[in-house]
Symmetry: C2
Subunit: 446 residues, 2 copies
Amino acid sequence: MEKNRLKDLLLNHTREEIQEEIDDIHPADLLELLEETEDEDQRRELLNDIPDDVVADIVEEMDDGDDQYEFLHMFPKNRRKEILDEMSDDELTDLVGELDEKEGREVFSELEPDDQQQVKQLLSYDPETAGGIMTTEYVYIFAKNTVADTLKYLQSVEDEEEIKSYLYVVDALDHLKGVVALRDIVRSSFDTKMMDIINDNVIAINYLEDQEEVANTFKKYGYSLMPVVDDDNKMLGIIEIDDILDVMEEETTEDMNLMAGMDSEEDVDSTLSESFKSRIPWLVVNLATAVLAAAVVNNFSGTIEKVVSLSAVMSIVTGMGGNAGTQSLTILVRGLSLGEVTKDNALRIFLKEIGVGALTGIVIGIIVGIGSMIFAHNPWFGVVAALAMLLNMIAANFAGYLVPVILKKMHVDPALASGVFVTTVTDCLGFFFFLGLATLFLPLLL
Amino acid sequence: MEKNRLKDLLLNHTREEIQEEIDDIHPADLLELLEETEDEDQRRELLNDIPDDVVADIVEEMDDGDDQYEFLHMFPKNRRKEILDEMSDDELTDLVGELDEKEGREVFSELEPDDQQQVKQLLSYDPETAGGIMTTEYVYIFAKNTVADTLKYLQSVEDEEEIKSYLYVVDALDHLKGVVALRDIVRSSFDTKMMDIINDNVIAINYLEDQEEVANTFKKYGYSLMPVVDDDNKMLGIIEIDDILDVMEEETTEDMNLMAGMDSEEDVDSTLSESFKSRIPWLVVNLATAVLAAAVVNNFSGTIEKVVSLSAVMSIVTGMGGNAGTQSLTILVRGLSLGEVTKDNALRIFLKEIGVGALTGIVIGIIVGIGSMIFAHNPWFGVVAALAMLLNMIAANFAGYLVPVILKKMHVDPALASGVFVTTVTDCLGFFFFLGLATLFLPLLL
């Protein structure tokens, strides 16, 4: 619905008219309208006639726990409790988990006892695992029924949102036994036995699986939802694919941020102080590594003093190495997070990276060599630059491969400040190769 | 199903037994088994009793057009035609579009006339837009019917895969008029009028929309599928959320690769020659920019000759600037691709980046200044280093903001080699600030 028509509906129509139309409006659009309304009183007026379940949907659309908390506190306590009661357990869990302790406890205390129990259970899972992103609200079906029975049962389900596009069958002890697609129910004749359309070869996700792995499983199978089970194949919940979109967004931001040496959660909306706190730690680490590179240069200050033109060319050797290392690193970090680097292909990838380093090193080395020779009017200057360039490009791709792979082996995120580490290698080695060779060839360079 | 059991089923059971079980096995698992089977004859044996529609599903699971082509050519022409006939139009379009011209024409010639027509139509859309990723295979429903009528109609649909979790209503001229969730059909009593459960406020995607925007729309609304319309609201197709996972993966790889100065499609599976071709162009560009930075240094060689310790510290100033610029750039590239940078917040983000540059510049500047002072036994050396550091950190964040924003304004991908551009700024300006100030303060440094 167009935004002005929506505003008009909420402000100028009766409660009855609003309630008739509101179910056809997506809560994301309602949230957008509210966010664009700066006047606090008008926001209240817009919300006035919206039913509690729709307000709950709006709260669920918000990305940030603090925003949700603030929004919920626009309402008096009684209505807030009604709204919380309409929210889904996984959203309540995220909210309670994201808030600081005092606020989290406050929200928790306003939940219904059964929600409290569910939230408590869900909070016990690591938020970045399958258990942490699953929801527990869905309906089971029964294998012994007919399609007509099942349709009648589904008609009796109170909360339509619990009917998903796949329905699961469990035994008396909650063990996952089968799955049937809703579309297979609707396209079977009414007297079909459910048994005949149930697939007993269900693909399930273990509750401990890391959310990045879960996303890769969804990508592999393309299902719109998947069941979560414990080690005994007991069904614990389901994960829906729209939550996987959020996981992928989160994981990508995390990878990119970590590679650059920042907090995994910083984004354009972060405040000045959040951004400062996110960036300064790795900048300080980078400073320490930069001092290391400077120490290498300082070690050769005698050589530079004699052939000052080395100081100009040395930054080319390190800069190009840094760039090549970042290319190699980017491919590896991406491959590792998509699960594309396996035992079978790791050696091939490693050798390829070294190969690319050698090939690009030869090309760039020749260009840099010829350029330096002309610049310094000395062929040996060119030889030194070309050799150093070649060695540093190989070292760059070596580091671009090894840094993320070693981090992964150490069970650290392979993206973590890997850019900082790789450029440390290319800076230190670049200076060392170039100035070291220059010192070796010094009599020929003078 | 466990892999060995699956292998046993395919190799040692009758065709009838296989056909009974095969529908419960996900084609991604079948593909994985085939990929792990290196022996060509055994692969043929595994495929022997799998029905054509399942083979078609396996082909659709493959990511790469050339692999699909090669796989299809394991079969005699007649069976290949049957398999192609079972594939969906959007997958056929991707296949024909990805192959080189000769192979593409060959595959096209083996399609049924109606598929040829659809594929021709779909090929006319840009593959990175909504039109390029949509499928045209789905069923419409009719607003005038009851739920019972609709269920009966759905039972008559031949291809179950055309029944999606949302069904659309169009008028005689194909204008999109409404949508109903499959779950709303199953939970309504049989005599409910479809009219009463149809939502006529359908959110649709324009066929020209860029796939990155489409992904953001899916993230906003969380629907498992969305309709695609032309400018007159005529329905052209649908996009399913599992294809959006692929789009997101593709767009992320593209962003990360472009930032590092590589081909958007390079990954760990690329061959040595593909990787070389992907990386060398931007390395050469980077070389040109590195020469620029070297020229700045060379311009101040007189100063370096007099105070050779400058040559060690100058790499700290540029290295730290490069790191800070990459941080800022990463945040902006990510924010731009998620659509989080808007007219309303652009100025705030810009000022924040400058603020972060100033704050981190002060902290890092003071450390570098004190360190340099001690290193050179000269307080003025420290002042020069601190000032240059501060200025370069501000310049770094300035460039980290401006480079992607300007690229976007020029309708170029904001990630495109932006890392190369930003480090050019931080290298050139870093050397200029530091060596320039040193030249200015030269009498005090000697």
